[in-house]
C-alpha cells in the first residue's frame, strides 16, 4: 500500500504511474477538486532551454529527458492541448536583443531578423528587433492534464489534509506536496510567487508560444486553440497571494508592446500561484528514510518534469532502482540541505 501526499500534477502523475504498474495507491489532498496548486496557474510551456541557462548543471539534462517522455505521457491522457508548433523568442529593443542573444547563443538557436520573425507570426509588433525559433519547444494545458489525471485516478483520491506523515497508514509514503512539503519534511522549499493573466479573443491571433522581452520586461504568451492566451509571469520572493497593480501592469504592458492586437482581448483571469522553489532551482527527488520518498520542489518546471518524476519515483518505489538522476537531485545534496 502506497500513499501519495499531494494531488497536484506531480502527485497525480506519480500515482498514475504506480497504478499502471500494478501498485495499490491512495492520493491524499485537502481539496481533490480544488484549484490551489501551482498547476492551476502554470501556462504549460515545455521549454527546457529557456529555464536552465545558468542554474543546476544537471537540470537541463533532466528537463530534456522529461520533454522526450511528453508525447507518450500526453497520448495517454487524451486531448490535453499538447501542441508542437514551437516557440518564438523575441526581443523588442536593442537592449532586449543583447540580453536575449546571450540566452540564444547558449541554446544554439539561429537568430532571425524582425521581418523573419513577423513572417512566422504576423501579429507581432513591427518594432520587434530580432528573434529565434525554437521548434522543439511544445506546450500543454496543465488544467486539462490535471483533469485527465483526476479522471484516471477516480476513487483513489481522498479529501484529507495530512499534517504529520505518521498519521498515514501505508508501507511507503511519497511526499509530493509542492510548497507544503517544507512543513511535512523540513526540506528547504519556499514559495516563489507568480502572477499570471489569461486573455481571451478570436482564436488564431497567435500560433506560436511567444517568449520575449520588451524594454526589460520579460513575458511569455501561450496561445490555446480555443482563443485563450496565458500571459505570465512575475517572479517574486514572496508567499502572499495578492494580485498587484504593478504586477498586472508590467505583464500587460510587455504583452501589448509585443503583440498590439491583444488590446482587443478580454482579460478573463488574474491568478496568483506559488512555485515550490529550492536553493539551486532543481527538484528534490529520492528517499528520505526507509518509508518516505520525496518528489517536490519543481519550481518553474513542474509541468515539464511530471513525466520523468513519475517514472523515476515509480522505479524507485517499486524496484529500488537508483537512476543517476536520483543522485543529482537527492534531497540533502550539497547546497540543498
Amino acid at each position: 500500500m502506497i500513499a501519495v501526499i499531494g494531488g497536484g500534477i506531480i502527485g497525480l502523475s506519480i500515482a498514475r504511474s504506480l497504478r499502471a504498474r500494478g501498485a495499490e495507491v491512495t492520493v491524499y489532498d485537502p481539496e481533490p477538486d480544488g484549484t490551489g496548486g501551482a498547476w492551476h496557474v502554470a501556462a504549460g510551456m515545455l521549454a527546457p532551454g529557456r529555464e536552465s541557462a545558468f542554474e543546476h548543471p544537471r537540470l537541463e539534462s533532466l528537463l530534456e529527458a522529461s520533454l522526450a517522455l511528453w508525447p507518450e505521457f500526453a497520448a495517454g491522457l487524451g486531448d490535453v492541448g499538447y501542441d508542437t508548433t514551437g516557440t518564438l523568442g523575441v526581443a523588442l529593443t536593442a537592449d532586449d536583443h543583447v540580453e536575449a542573444a546571450r540566452e540564444w547563443r547558449h541554446q544554439k538557436l539561429q537568430p532571425l531578423t524582425g521581418s523573419q520573425v513577423r513572417d512566422r507570426e504576423p501579429a507581432l509588433s513591427p518594432r520587434i528587433r530580432a528573434g529565434v525559433h525554437a521548434p522543439h519547444e511544445v506546450q500543454a494545458d496543465p488544467r486539462r492534464v490535471v483533469a485527465a489525471l483526476r479522471r484516471a485516478l477516480a476513487g483513489r483520491i481522498v479529501a484529507r489534509r495530512i499534517t504529520d506523515l505518521g498519521e498515514v497508514a501505508a508501507d511507503t509514503v511519497v511526499v509530493a506536496a509542492g510548497c507544503g512539503t517544507a512543513a511535512l519534511t523540513g526540506l528547504p522549499i519556499r514559495p516563489v510567487k507568480g502572477q499570471v493573466l489569461r486573455l481571451r479573443g478570436e482564436p488564431g491571433l497567435l500560433r506560436h508560444v511567444i517568449d520575449g522581452s520588451a524594454d526589460g520586461r520579460h513575458v511569455y504568451l501561450v496561445p490555446r486553440a480555443d482563443g485563450e492566451i496565458v500571459v505570465g509571469a512575475t517572479q517574486e520572493e514572496r508567499g502572499d497571494s495578492a494580485a498587484t497593480a504593478g504586477g498586472v501592469h508590467d505583464l500587460l504592458r510587455a504583452a501589448l508592446d509585443l503583440v498590439p492586437g491583444l488590446a482587443e482581448h478580454t482579460l478573463t483571469e488574474i491568478t496568483v500561484g506559488h512555485r515550490p522553489g529550492t536553493p539551486d532551482n532543481g527538484p528534490l527527488l529520492g528517499r528520505l528514510d526507509a518509508r518516505t520518498v520525496v518528489a517536490a520542489g519543481h519550481h518553474r518546471n513542474g509541468i515539464l518534469l511530471a513525466p520523468i518524476t513519475a517514472r523515476l519515483v515509480a522505479d524507485l518505489v517499486l524496484t529500488g532502482s537508483d537512476d543517476p538522476f536520483l543522485d543529482d537531485f537527492a534531497p540533502g545534496r550539497n547546497g540543498c540541505a
Binding site: H56, R102, P191, D280
Partner: protein, 249 residues
Amino acid sequence: MGDFLPPNGLILGTGGAQSLAVLEEAIRVSETTLVTVALRRVDAAGPGLLPMLDRAGVRVLPNTAGCYTAGDAVRTARMAREAFGTDLIKLEVIGDERTLLPDGVELLRAAETLVAEGFTVLPYTTDDPILARRLADTGCAAVMPAGSPIGSGLGIANPHHIELIRQSVDVPVVLDAGIGTASDAALAMELGCDAVLIASAITRSDDPPAMAAAMRHAVAAGRLARGAGRIPRRFHALASTPDDGIARW
C-alpha cells in the same frame, strides 16, 4: 565613521540572481559582510533569501528600491527598520523607469526626514558633486554615486565627478550602480571610493562565483593602487632606466 562598510570594500546586491544556491556561493566567495536587499521585493518574514543571508553571516542593508517619491521612500525605510531591526537604510528614490537614475530633489527631502528620525542614511545619488555634498551636509552617513545607470554595465561614465565627490565630502563614498566588470571596480577604488556596490555584474554573469572572486580582487587591487600613489600622466615618455652613470665614449 563608516563602520558599517565591509572591511574589504565590496558590498553585494541580490537582484537578478538565478538561484539562491548560486547567490550564496557568490556571497561566500566575495568575502563581503554587507548585502543589500530590496524591502519591496522580499518577504521579510518568509523562508529563502533572509535565512540564507543569516547563515552566510552577512549584515543586511535594506534598500528602498522601487520608490519614486520622498514620501514613499520614507514609508518604506520605516517598514525596513521594523522588519530588519536596523537603522541602516540605503535610500533610493528613482526618477524614471528607463534610466532608474535618482531624483535628487526627492532624495534630499527623504534624506532630511530619515536623518532626523535617527536612521543611518546611505543615499543612492547621481554623480553630481554638489548634490553629494548637500546629502553629506544633511547628515547622511555616506554617499553612493552612480557610475552609470543601474544594470547598464557601462562602468564609470564620469570618473572626474567621482574624484570631485571624493574631495567634496568627508563621509565614505561608495560607487553604486553601473559596474560591468572587474576593471570598473578597480577604477572606482583608484578614484578614492571607500567601497563598491555590485549586483547585476555578478548575479547576471555566466559564472557568478567566479565574477565575485574577480570583483574581490579588483577592489583590493584598486585600493592598494590608490594607497601606493600612481605616477603622474605625462605627454612624452620618461625612460624607466636613468642614464646617469652610463658609460659614454
